[in-house]
Subunit: 203 residues, 2 copies
């Protein structure tokens, strides 16, 4: 629907917005027409922020998260526990964990997880750099915080084996019934495992 | 949530995307990180299409729809019925009506509707230009296709009175039960009016 735009430039802009994740043709049209209502300066600020994101950001040379500087603010911070390294799939996971306010260590962003189906192998990920980071010393524990999927589990196991020679402690996120969930709505695999892996009740 | 981005440039780009209609902070972050995965050329094409939309499009000098040229393709077309002018609130409505495939006349985009609550009066809209267009002759019928709201009705009435001296025929979209709707789910005002304004059954 809506193929016959009276303007090719409008059509092009709509296609651009529709290329964003989760944006359909109707929303894209609303976004494009919304741009026409903004001032020249506002539209320029909008596009500049995207170009600067693309052209001026780096990936931190230690943890590979996105950063304005060669070393990200987390790696550069003196207030974080440098003996803990939390391994995550992507930058979004760093932000998600930071938002819990429960973690004060460092990170290591893999840039993906092992997925033979999608042709992603260990060499495509920041795993070698994780191993060297641990081998350089100073890391007491590596916390695996990857998705609880088959690919996540495969990646966990691969990393675990690569790190074994170093003797570093390797942990993973606790798995079980989500806080606030009714048992009725918890999937059977999770519930079954949470019975097997039950923990002592502490009042 | 998600206030502490490791990058100010990322934070700025997320704010830009979050300024789009219907986009929350989480979707905006996904959009921004998605830009980092595109090539330089792709990102440049994305921002260029927006800048060109803003800087190079016109509003058609006759019907005021968005156009790449001074006269839009609809007004410039020789295949359209030039005696019909359909009055709509905005460019989106032109596209919506074009998509029905049921209309072959011209348009007149008001750029809004009369709304005292929002401080929009007749002078803020393309109403004078509609009146002159009709006075110049050649228009047999003006079809009012504004929203069926109080503001739409007010605008319809205002335009009707302004056009009365010209003697042009003024019509409005048929109102009634939507095609495919159960009566049970049709609102009472619409249903009540559709009884009063019932039409002859044609087999």
């Amino acid at each position: 629907m809506m193929n016959d735009y009276p303007s090719i430039l409008l059509s092009d802009a709509v296609s651009s917005f529709a290329s964003l994740p989760g944006v359909g043709k109707k929303s894209a049209l609303r976004m494009a027409l919304g741009m026409l209502k903004r001032s020249d300066d506002e539209v320029r600020a909008f596009t500049d922020s995207i170009l600067r994101l693309k052209n001026e950001t780096h990936y931190c040379r230690v943890c590979h998260t996105i950063s304005d500087t060669e070393l990200c603010p987390i790696c550069a911070s003196t207030g974080r526990d440098r003996t803990l390294v939390c391994v995550v799939e992507n930058v979004r996971d760093v932000l998600t964990i930071e938002n819990t306010g429960q973690y004060n260590g460092l990170y290591h962003v893999l840039g993906g997880i092992i997925s033979p189906m999608e042709g992603v192998g260990p060499k495509d990920l920041e795993i070698d750099s994780l191993v060297s980071r641990v081998e350089q010393g100073g890391v007491a524990e590596v916390i695996l915080a990857l998705p609880t999927t088959m690919e996540g589990d495969t990646t966990n196991f691969y990393i675990y084996r690569r790190l074994a020679p170093s003797g570093v402690r390797v942990s993973q996120l606790a798995r079980g019934v989500a806080v606030g969930n009714e048992l009725e709505y918890t999937d059977e695999v999770t519930l079954g495992r949470s019975i097997i892996n039950r923990t002592e009740y502490k009042a």
